[in-house]
Amino acid sequence: MSIVECKDINKTYQQGKIEVRALKGVTLSIDKGGFVALAGPSGSGKTTLLNIIGSLDQPDSGSVSVDGNTFEKMTQSQLALLRLHKVGFVFQSYNLIPVLSAVENVEFVMLLQGVQAAQRRERAKAILDDVGLEAEYDRRPAELSGGQQQRVAVARAIVSNPSIVLADEPTANLDSKTGNGLLEMMKKMNEEKKVTFIFSTHDNMVMDYARRLILIRDGCIVDDQIK
């Protein structure tokens, strides 16, 4: 059963007078429970594709749907609610709200969803335990290492059981050991909690973790292999 459907997506950016075609007719379908890597050189369109799947950006043509919701006719508010309940994000950096502690950052999404305070706290702590941060509940982002910050981001992304988690180069700012640790953890969460992960990378080591590897170049999918 597919959870993400992209049909013939085109996206063109204007850079001054030059038109840059970031995506050229991308069609893609991703199954529930997948652990999918989106790989390609810099400028190939990985971020653009992830943003479009996450409804942060709109394609010029083509259609996208997540968990049966087709974006085209949805308002900004409806898309916001869709992101809130169905999509988790992990960005390359600057993932966390600086004035909130680790546990509060994880709670924040549940707060927006209207989860009761006690339940929020309990679930946030449990998920931080899962990602190996049981000692870091009350630290602010500035007091956490880069790897720990990314773990908090992953914890927040998966805490409310979204349909998909989109991670744009989550390990790019980490050394390889920490990066591998983060991917191990993501894989564990994917296997234990059946969360669908789609992450982008141009790092070969990272690609090795994926069960499905989609190669993208100049805005086109050039290879798609299931391992």
Partner: protein
């Protein structure tokens, strides 16, 4: 948790928060404090004018105000008495007077004055004269040739207590009546003009001089603080009828004072407006800066699934918190200032020459009215939130893609 978030965000940049708070504090403080000063001046002006013979309301013969001569006196004092006894609330005071234009003269000087014939005992309870004597003594009911004049008139006439003063006016027959009085005391008033204008004799002496058997020119009434003059006036009108009498409140009797009050209100309004413009710009600028600094964060919040409206709400709650804190401090400071000055007042003697004609005293005591304070606070909070909408809307419009692309 929303509150915690807003609270912590406010203190992320303490210096900027301090700037906004200062703007709010100064705004609120100055609005309340200046309001209190203006109100102090106003109430002083009213009190002075009222105690300078006007009272809260007066009753005259219907033609007296147009033509204040002795013929336009009220003769049916019985009817007046009955009506007043019926209508006036406990704590009200009243004084009947004869009041005509006259000329005062001694060997060296003459001057136009107002001759006031009073009943010394009730008059002392109603108007300022009972406690304004600074030399000599006050009138007694049996004084037939005693007169009290203002300190300034005494100086102008180069005379002193015990000397004679001749008063002249038209009597009921239409002849010029004159009578020699002896100055038995002088009074001080807030304004020199008052001291030069009035000469007080007993009502009996005035009647004899003017050949008036009975009858009075006016009844002046002062009311306790909580009684509305308009209400009493209406009831008196119903009781006495308006054919023979003219019954007016101080607002009608003192149109100039009333006009000043309107101007004062205008001042307060303009000042509030100026303060608010300055404060509003301060709030908009600093909030806008804060919002732009946190652009990535707002992008993140949107990516996480916050609707644009939720972001507006969050920015507004931060402004609200700032406003409430600033207003609390501003209110406390304003009330402390008022309290500190309530004992000694602010001495305006340096400007008194200019202020005097308006009936303003030399020392102002600020007066705080709950209504003014509430309005000031209400205006600040509503307008403060209104000007915060612009930065808030800006924050809500950052798109996650743009915001997160910022480094």
């Amino acid at each position: 948790m929303y509150f915690q978030l807003a609270w912590r965000n406010i203190w992320r940049n303490p210096r900027r928060t301090a700037v906004i708070m200062t703007a709010i504090i100064i705004g609120v403080w100055s609005m309340i404090f200046l309001n209190a000063l203006m109100r102090g001046m106003e109430s002083d002006m009213i009190k002075n004018s009222i105690s300078t013979l006007t009272g809260h309301l007066q009753i005259h013969h219907k033609d007296y105000r147009n033509d204040p001569v002795i013929e336009n006196s009220m003769y049916d004092t019985k009817a007046l008495e009955t009506a007043l006894n019926k209508v006036l609330p406990p704590g009200a005071h009243r004084a009947a007077r004869i009041r005509v234009n006259a000329i005062a003269g001694n060997a060296r000087h003459t001057s136009g004055i107002t001759l006031v014939g009073i009943n010394p005992v009730p008059e002392a309870k109603t108007s300022f004269i009972g406690h304004a004597i600074n030399q000599g003594r006050y009138l007694k009911p049996e004084d037939k040739y005693g007169v009290i004049v203002g300190q300034a008139l005494l100086v102008k006439f180069e005379t002193k207590i015990g000397r004679k003063l001749v008063l002249m006016s038209q009597d009921t027959d239409g002849n010029i009546a004159s009578r020699a009085f002896r100055i038995i005391g002088t009074f001080k008033a807030e304004m020199q003009a008052t001291e030069k204008q009035f000469a007080f004799v007993t009502i009996t002496a005035a009647r004899q001089m003017l050949k008036l058997e009975k009858g009075i020119s006016e009844v002046s009434i002062t009311l306790p603080d909580n009684i509305d003059a308009d209400h009493v006036t209406t009831r008196l009108k119903a009781e006495l009828g308006t054919d023979g009498y003219q019954i007016q409140t101080w607002r009608e009797l003192l149109p100039i004072i009333n006009a000043y009050l309107v101007i004062f209100d205008g001042f307060i309004f303009i000042w509030s407006f100026v303060v608010f413009i300055a404060m509003g710009f301060g709030i908009v600028n600093t909030t806008l800066m804060a919002v732009f600094e946190r652009m990535r964060e707002f992008g993140l919040l949107k990516a996480l699934g916050m609707k644009p409206w939720w972001i507006i709400r969050d920015v507004l709650s931060e402004s609200f918190l700032l406003l409430v804190m600033g207003m609390t401090i501003g209110n406390i400071m304003a009330l402390l200032c008022v309290f500190a000055l309530s004992g000694s007042g602010i001495d305006l003697s340096a400007f008194a020459a200019g202020a005097e004609f308006a009936g303003i005293s030399k020392i102002i005591y600020p007066a705080v009215y709950a209504k003014d304070v509430l309005i000031s606070n209400f205006v600040v909070i509503i307008l403060g939130l209104l000007v915060s909408i612009y930065p808030a809307a800006k924050a809500a419009r950052f798109t996650p893609v743009e915001a997160l692309a910022q480094t």
